[in-house]
């Protein structure tokens, strides 16, 4: 079965991205396919490349990147939600003349249409709300 996942909750303040990660890990281990993970609302903050996780805590971001790399899963961040929260790639940093880029390179900036595309391409679409 092909799964799509949406993460809406903030990475540190809510359990959403950690729960979604456990779900994705279990689905892939059971032989399912994960088409795309779409980060929206405060969920986009998982893509912030300027965060530091305390050494004695797990890094949900690092775990997502490792999982996505191992299984070829796209980590997609909504551009409208991202820009409002200070998540910018090099391209947006130049376009808006900002002082720095903050997006981790493992994530891609996409439009909201990619969420609807993920809905269309997946047998099941699972939302991890805030």
């Amino acid at each position: 079965m092909i799964f799509g996942i949406a993460v809406h909750g903030a990475p540190y303040g809510s359990e959403a991205s950690a729960s979604a990660l456990r779900f994705a890990t279990a689905a892939l281990a059971a032989g399912h396919t994960l088409h795309r993970v779409f980060f929206y609302h405060d969920g986009v903050n998982l893509a912030n490349g300027l965060t530091v996780t305390p050494r004695d805590e797990p890094s949900t971001q690092a775990d997502w990147i490792a999982l996505a790399g191992a299984h070829g899963v796209e980590l997609a961040v909504c551009i409208a939600a991202a820009l409002k929260r200070g998540l910018v790639s090099d391209a947006e940093r130049e376009r808006y003349d900002l002082q720095a880029a903050s997006l981790h390179p493992a994530f891609s900036i996409v439009g909201l249409g990619q969420m609807i595309d993920a809905v269309g391409c997946s047998d099941r679409f699972v939302t991890f709300a805030s």
Partner: protein, 120 residues
Amino acid sequence: MDTKRLLFLLRQPPYGTSHALEALESILVAGVFEQRVSVLFRDDGVWQLVGGQAGEVLGTRTIGKVVQALPQYEIEDIYVCATSLAARGIALNDLVLPAQPLDVGAQQALIAGQQVVVND
């Protein structure tokens, strides 16, 4: 891309967080991409439907006006939880558009008939 029966479940109040606005923006995009979209307002999400909102007082968009734009995106299957309305003393003629009130059983049937439910 397949066309799917897609239900958005809106449960968050219109103001206080950015949640309602961003959820509605994603629904409008689903309409543009020609999905068969339904929207169900329930719990505190029913406040999004109430008329007479003035977002400018808070320096934000007026959520009721965004809700009113849904039919312009060919999103016309708009439902509201009758229990959530009654619990908040909201009448159907208080709403910015004619949402169809559903009891809990009818909501179960609506959800069961979807291919995808986005739980906002």
